[in-house]
Symmetry: C2
């Protein structure tokens, strides 16, 4: 058995974070995290969770085993243990010319580590894989094991890079497994690297975060931060957030979006008035800031309230619908 | 506050079981359960879980609170606490002329009882509701509370009745909330009562179960039992199961279906050979038994492996896709 640490870049190429040369599977570097800690202690913690991080590799091993250690036991009411702490594996299918789901871990609710056989094949041919890391835990150790005499090669791909900033919806709450978070669906469908900056209960458009994100050279920046903008903070902060980012990256196209419909939106008049106010603000930003695109996700989805698992967060049906909307708009602008 | 037991038929009409006049929210009567215990001790237990059972009512109360007691704590790896132990509520929306999701409970993983505010409105107009009971617990007590001076009326509807027999897929594993199990989606879309006989890890086509199901006068009988037919037991049992049912209900149309695609189906040749053998058997049954329809769910879904949460059970995206297939076929034959 050939047991290889996922950080071994002779064997695995990692995507979905700019901080993967440092220990762990964080979404910000230690240096950035120290700056963030002052502004947002919660984002400081959540940024250590591996949402959106992927390993790409090829192997001719007949089987792949996984061994993982992380920092949490299961506790979410709207997600399964697989959704919170699981990994899933996709294999490239030559017939359909796409990556298809082929393996998943099924952690128990009281585990902070587990070993599992992820996939097994009948032959030894060379195959390409994407492993999606857990959405809601900080992974401390991850190794994959293969047949002794097998080849394991990193898939170094020169992909376009998209950065997404958002809330628990982007973080992946309610997805049945990591591959079903909408950023991971998009990454597969469009063959792009996506930096997932989705933070459960957060994304408050702090300008300090924009300063950090502005250091990334990306082909497209998508901001999906309305859902946690309590007390109209989005009206006060989003413009500055965008302008701060543009100071660093004046030529990067930015897509802003309103949040998905919640089931209560239909019930409370106040929410409808807020909707109008926020959408007017999004449209004002679109009209006044160069290269800014506004995607009206709310309008596209408001006729179908089946899209959420808990009234707030997209279930897999909603994740696919979100991915459909963004796939179209990204294809136009990338 | 007006606190009413869900079994009070002056206020609530219950659907989805023929055993609701007895205590609890079982899917078989005590008499039937005693017969089942001998044949299948697991179905005896699982039949007490309230999957597919619904309360239909109208009220002008501004709010609805729920109080519930059941027999299990959360333990499923592929389902969330909401999916296993939660309830959800739908309200009739006059604009779109359909029931829409408007409330959900969010049980913690260590709870066997909870109280929650399910929904709140701004006005007192009369509204129609469907409450979906938990998929994977036996409910011992369920009360709803309303404003003191509000009206609460049962919605007694003369609906067509469909009976479905199947595995954990029908039971609802991986659905994000009860309303997203495919039998509950179909019940809403088609305005029919569905008796859900989905049993996690079971549905072994025992003729004794067919004898019991044969006592129900229903408009359509759907059998989705392949998924747990290990060791080719379906080839030995399904024909007798159907013929036993037909002894009691010779004129009821029956739909048989193969299972949804699993991710491993593409990887193992043996599974493909089994698929061909089983489909030949389904086609043989269709050709030799009168009024028997075969729906090739496998073929309809095999190009999209995103439909499962764990490789075996439909996530909400898969549930909607299954409902789409069955909606069409039921409309043709009901």
């Amino acid at each position: 058995m050939k047991k290889i640490n996922l950080k071994d870049n002779h064997h695995f190429a990692l995507y979905g974070s700019t901080a993967l040369a440092e220990p762990g599977f964080k979404r910000f570097s230690d240096n950035e995290l120290n700056m963030i800690k002052v502004v947002s202690p919660r984002v400081y913690e959540l940024a250590k969770e591996s949402s959106g991080i992927q390993a790409h590799f090829a192997t001719n091993s007949k089987w792949i085993e996984l061994s993982i250690k992380f920092n949490k036991i299961f506790s979410m009411t709207n997600s399964s243990p697989i959704g919170q702490m699981g990994v899933d594996l996709y294999v490239f299918d030559n017939k359909s010319n796409q990556y298809v789901f082929c393996g998943v871990s099924r952690p128990e609710i009281n585990q902070t580590s587990y070993d599992t056989l992820l996939v097994e094949f009948e032959t030894n041919e060379m195959r390409k894989f994407i492993l999606n890391l857990p959405l809601f835990v900080a992974v401390e150790e991850l190794t994959l094991s293969f047949e002794d005499n097998s080849a394991v090669l990193p898939l170094q791909e020169n992909k376009k890079k998209i950065m997404m900033y958002g809330t628990s919806i982007l973080h992946g709450a309610c997805a049945s497994r990591p591959g079903m978070s909408y950023s991971n669906i998009l990454s597969r469908r469009l063959n792009v690297e996506i930096l997932n900056y989705g933070f459960n209960g957060n994304a408050h458009n702090e300008k300090e975060i924009a300063q950090i994100l502005g250091k990334r050279n990306v082909d497209l920046f998508i901001i999906d931060s309305e859902a946690n903008a309590y007390d109209d903070s989005i009206l006060e902060r989003l413009e500055l957030f965008i302008k701060t980012f543009k100071q660093y990256q004046p030529h990067t196209k930015i897509i802003i979006t309103n949040r998905i419909p919640y089931f209560k939106d239909h019930l409370e008049k106040e929410r409808q008035l807020k909707r109008e106010k926020y959408d007017a603000y999004f449209n004002y930003l679109k009209d006044t800031i160069k290269d800014l695109i506004f995607v009206d996700v709310y309008q596209e989805l408001c006729d179908d309230l089946e899209i959420t698992g808990d009234g707030l967060h997209p279930n897999d049906y909603g994740m696919v619908k979100m991915a459909n909307i963004f796939e179209k708009i990204i294809k136009t602008h990338l």
